[in-house]
């Protein structure tokens, strides 16, 4: 008569109650036909309660992984199970040893995604043109140091006035030493609003009162996750995506990330039909979708969302009544012919519901200052701003750094020069690198932004699978001695794609990299 007992198929993610009812109702009918009303209601009730009791005792861990995706072997998915902390105790009940929380033990023991593994390996044997020419060349870190010389020059020329604040010629630390508003000094918010506007070509203006400053974009994403979703809810994320989102969103908030797979045939631009399908599938699994998390310019692909796609996303979000988190941290790292269009620009000019859009920004990429920890949440939603502001108490920017940045970001002439030089230098390196790869027969996705290119090495992988991709990654790391990020670490559904960050290279290093890849490519081609 009935379907299988839900606990024999732990992958079924229906809430326990619903499945139980499917068992009980037909049963009730059968019993009522024969046993009369009392038996007919008593037996199913008893069964129902027994079922609940049984399932409570044997509750399987909360589902945390996505449906089979190519990336599960490489990325780590922290299990945020709630019950195992109790089950791990001795049977002496409350006198059992107090372990750390399950959250902590899973985080501590996590085998890192290849994204992090590669980064660590480079640290052990870093390439240096003269001191260590056989070391591992870092192409896995999306870091922009191309124009640090400009910033360094500005700092050294403008320092004494900016850091401590002069009080009649004497250093006065009290101004910055004392407690500041956790979400940042107003002067910095004003300067940041102006900077963001400049970065986006003055096509949009930002309101300082809608800015929340955080210690980097990493907490900005986490704070928004805490504000917009409950434990057990989900965000839809187009793939491939920045591996760090797995940590930023999922580590402590309990919010799930549901991948929405994009294809090279679309140049990895998300389609509404894919979003819709993912939304419905997620709902069927009993998870509530609270928002879409998207990077624009995209990481790792490096493309810019077309205007039409942004309109479609906004319409979709309105239709499903969900939020959009737009991570625009690479907004200033554009070098192609296309202009970057911020969500803010669209919202300023078109009539869309602003209250569901939240922008994440930071100075780590556009201004090359990841060490200073400066991130931004920009929202049109008063409630989100109020909530996020309170949460910044855990992630505030050091006042010392804020004091340094106010005059720097306000120096519009310097910033203009910086932005233009930055773009020019990224473009030059990108062109050389992409051309070099082309010589090897390796094509890159069409990209206009970012500090990396998205290279298609599928012809070099031994088998068209994640396994094949990882074998190539391993060869590249250990034989060619270059660290690149495999597509599987970014949850890409097509094997063979690799993110190569070129901004950590000098022009002279590019031929070295290409040569090393060539050697591996040749052995790969000959063996396949």
């Amino acid at each position: 008569m009935t379907r299988n007992h839900p606990s024999t198929r732990p992958e079924r993610r229906k809430p326990a109650g619903a499945t139980a009812m499917r068992l009980v109702v037909p049963l009730q009918g059968v019993v009522q036909g024969r046993g009369g009303l009392i038996l007919g209601s008593l037996i199913p009730c008893a069964l129902f309660y027994f079922l609940q009791f049984y399932m409570k005792r044997h509750r399987s861990p909360k589902p945390s992984s996505d449906p089979p995706s190519p990336s599960t072997s490489s990325s780590n998915l922290p299990e945020l199970t709630r019950t195992s902390s109790r089950s791990s105790l001795s049977t002496r009940g409350s006198f059992g040893p107090a372990r750390v929380s399950t959250r902590a033990s899973s985080i501590a023991k996590q085998t890192d995604s290849l994204y992090y593994v590669g980064l660590d390996k480079v640290k052990e044997d870093p390439y240096h043109r003269t001191d260590n020419p056989d070391g591992i060349i870092q192409l896995g870190l999306s870091e922009n140091s191309l124009c640090l010389d400009l910033i360094e020059k500005w700092v050294l020329e403008n320092l004494t006035d900016s850091i401590m604040g002069t009080n009649g010629g004497d250093l006065s630390i009290s101004g910055i030493a004392m407690y500041q508003p956790f979400d940042g000094m107003m002067e910095l918010k004003v300067a940041m609003a102006g900077f963001m506007s400049q970065v986006m070509g003055q096509r949009v203006s930002f309101d300082p009162s809608q800015i929340i400053l955080t210690a980097g974009a990493t907490p900005a994403v986490e704070i928004l996750s805490f504000c917009l979703a409950d434990h057990g809810n989900a965000f839809l994320v187009p793939t491939p995506y920045y591996p760090g989102f797995d940590r930023d969103v999922r580590l402590r908030t309990g919010v799930e990330l549901i991948p929405v797979h994009c294809r090279s045939s679309d140049n990895f631009i998300v389609s509404i039909s894919a979003l819709d399908q993912a939304f419905n599938q997620t709902r069927k699994r009993g998870l509530k979708v609270r928002g879409i998390l998207i990077s624009n310019p995209a990481n790792p692909v490096g493309n810019i969302l077309p205007r039409e796609t942004i309109y479609d996303l906004l319409d979709f979000a309105r239709e499903k009544n969900i939020h959009i988190i737009s991570d625009e941290i690479y907004g200033g790292c554009t070098y192609g012919s296309e202009e970057f269009i911020s969500m803010a620009e669209i919202l300023d000019s078109e009539d869309f519901d602003k209250s569901r859009v939240h922008i994440v920004y930071g100075l780590s990429k556009d201004l090359s200052l990841p060490g200073f920890r400066v991130g931004v949440i920009y929202s049109y939603n008063e409630s989100v701003l109020a909530a996020a502001k309170k949460l910044t108490r855990f992630s505030s920017i050091s006042a010392l750094t804020q004091r340094l940045l106010v005059p720097m970001l306000s120096d519009t002439k310097f910033i203009q020069e910086y932005i233009e030089t930055n773009r020019r230098r990224i473009k030059k390196l990108c062109n050389s690198f992409v051309a070099g790869l082309k010589q090897l027969g390796i094509k890159c996705a069409d990209s206009n932004a970012g500090l990396y290119c998205w290279a298609d090495m599928s012809e070099l992988i031994p088998s068209y699978s994640e396994k094949g991709e990882l074998e190539l990654w391993d060869k590249l790391l250990n034989i060619a001695k270059i660290n690149v990020t495999p597509g599987s670490a970014c949850h890409c559904i097509e094997p063979g794609w690799f993110r190569c960050c070129f901004t950590t290279l000098a022009q002279e290093d590019i031929p070295v990299v290409i040569e090393r890849i060539r050697r591996v490519a040749e052995t790969s081609k000959s063996s396949s």
Binding site: R103, S145, R252, S355
Partner: protein, 469 residues
């Protein structure tokens, strides 16, 4: 509408708390010696402003530190790109040595066991994420820092169960109180994961006695739970009996290779001892590798700016400076505390005997119209609105007895402190001379009850920007 999460919407009513009236009133009408001499004097902010000159003179003599230079060479590039969540090794080393120095070098710390965070607020929350979750509780002795309700519980889902302390023994922790709290947690179906103490105490300003520390170690050993010792005020101990760190006790008891060694964790920060809350520098220290590993990864959500780490590593590595700073800072705090105490005495007000911190735990029970929390709030409102002093009522710190207030002394000039004491004396004189028991108070009482409720829910207001630790 697109709803926000439950976590942020359920606490929004905290904004109505009358407690924040004090802060709001202060911000509307802040005292300024020249521009607003009749304004409200801020005595609810535990900030150390007494030793800025020492920091400033060091900075003037060491421009490289703030100038991104090491030995004359620019290291700007290195710092701009440094975002390793393991922290700047030189800074961690200097930090643990500083912590050791504060403890009279009776204990040493391993810099590999330190995790840097953006302030102690972040360190406390991170530790809580590592040790507890929904359904778990930590026991905390009352009165305690009001911020804990928010920092420890909000995003982690953990609960706090108070260990009730009373004035009968100077608010010290007793075995009975510990056990009662433990049982109370059980009654509430909470699993006790540990005890959290602030030593030196906020708001009491006292250091824990050796006995209390032994008691704690015995308790956590017997119950097999954790102990978090928030030692953020450890550098502000200016009088006997001196500061005894929990690490010292563990060493005395030869606990180094026992299980309990891994269950004691310390939180520290430079906000109070160095008076640099704006720099957002906190740390947690643990002997448990798993805690350190997990906390290190979590610290990504609140890393300390590399610029700040570098500056402070230079500052704290200068042993001559640190030695001088620690003793001079303590001397100044001692003098300032004496001034507050004598000012209070002149007004006929006593306070708990204290030897540390940036505040005194003041006894105004004799000024209450009745031995109730309503009366405490009534008195507090008078002090804020009429006397124009913003002080912290004991009820906001979950004190079991009405009539106690925390009054800070290190965040203002000496003249301002003198003025505040004059105002207080004038107030006390007028109330003892006048009729302080008036019948019209009972009319206001009904309103007071609802206000008291709000006082307890003070955690989530954004009007409280600064650490009221």
């Amino acid at each position: 509408m697109k709803l926000l999460s439950r976590k942020v919407t359920c606490n929004s009513h905290g904004q109505d708390s009358s407690y924040f009236l004090g802060w709001q009133e202060y911000e509307k009408n802040p005292y300024d010696e020249k521009k607003n001499p009749k304004g409200i004097i801020q005595m609810g902010l535990a900030e150390n402003q007494l030793s800025f000159d020492l920091l400033e003179s060091w900075l003037a003599k060491n421009p490289d530190a703030a100038g991104f230079k090491r030995d004359g060479q620019s290291i700007f590039r290195e710092l701009a790109l440094f975002q390793d969540y393991h922290g700047l090794p030189a800074f961690k080393k200097a930090l643990v040595e500083f912590m050791s120095e504060i403890r009279g070098n009776k204990v040493t710390f391993d810099s590999n066991k330190v995790v840097l965070t953006a302030g102690a607020t972040s360190a406390n929350e991170t530790l809580m994420f590592c040790l507890a979750e929904l359904g778990d509780a930590f026991l905390i002795p009352t009165p305690y820092y009001p911020g804990f309700d928010r920092d420890l519980k909000w995003r982690t889902g953990a609960e706090i169960v108070p260990i009730q302390c009373t004035s009968s023994n100077g608010f010290q922790i007793t075995e009975t109180a510990l056990e009662e709290a433990y049982q109370q947690a059980k009654k509430q179906n909470l699993k006790v994961k540990g005890v959290l103490v602030t030593n030196p105490s906020n708001p009491l300003g006292t250091t824990m006695s050796r006995n209390e520390l032994y008691l704690l170690v015995d308790f956590i050993t017997a119950k097999n739970i954790h102990l978090i010792s928030d030692e953020i005020y450890s550098g502000t101990v200016f009088n006997s009996p001196g500061f005894i760190s929990i690490m010292e006790i563990l060493k005395d008891r030869n606990c180094e290779n026992t299980e309990v060694w891994n269950r004691v964790h310390i939180v520290y920060s430079l906000s109070k001892d160095l008076g640099l809350p704006g720099f957002r520098v906190g740390a947690l220290y643990s002997n448990d590798d798993m805690v350190v590993a997990a906390a290190t990864k979590m610290s990504s959500f609140g890393l300390v700016s590399s610029q700040t780490q570098y500056l402070l590593s230079a500052l704290l590595s200068d042993k001559k400076f640190t030695r001088n700073y620690i003793s001079e800072n303590q001397k100044r705090l001692k003098q300032r505390q004496k001034k507050l105490i004598s000012g209070l005495e002149k007004a006929g007000i006593s306070c708990l005997k204290s030897n540390s911190g940036l505040f005194c735990w003041v006894d105004m029970r004799h000024l209450l119209s009745s031995n109730t929390f309503e009366a405490e709030i009534e008195l507090w409102k008078k002090i804020v609105y009429d006397v124009k002093l913003n002080i912290s009522p004991g009820s906001s710190c979950h004190c079991t007895e009405p009539g106690w207030f925390r009054v800070c002394f290190a965040n203002m000039s000496e003249e301002t402190l003198k003025l505040s004491m004059q105002r207080l004396k004038a107030f006390v004189d007028s109330t003892t001379n006048g009729h302080n028991q008036s019948s019209h108070q009972s009319v206001k009482n009904s309103r007071r009850t609802s206000l008291t409720k709000w006082v307890f829910r003070l955690s989530f207001d954004d009007r409280e920007p600064c650490g009221e630790r």
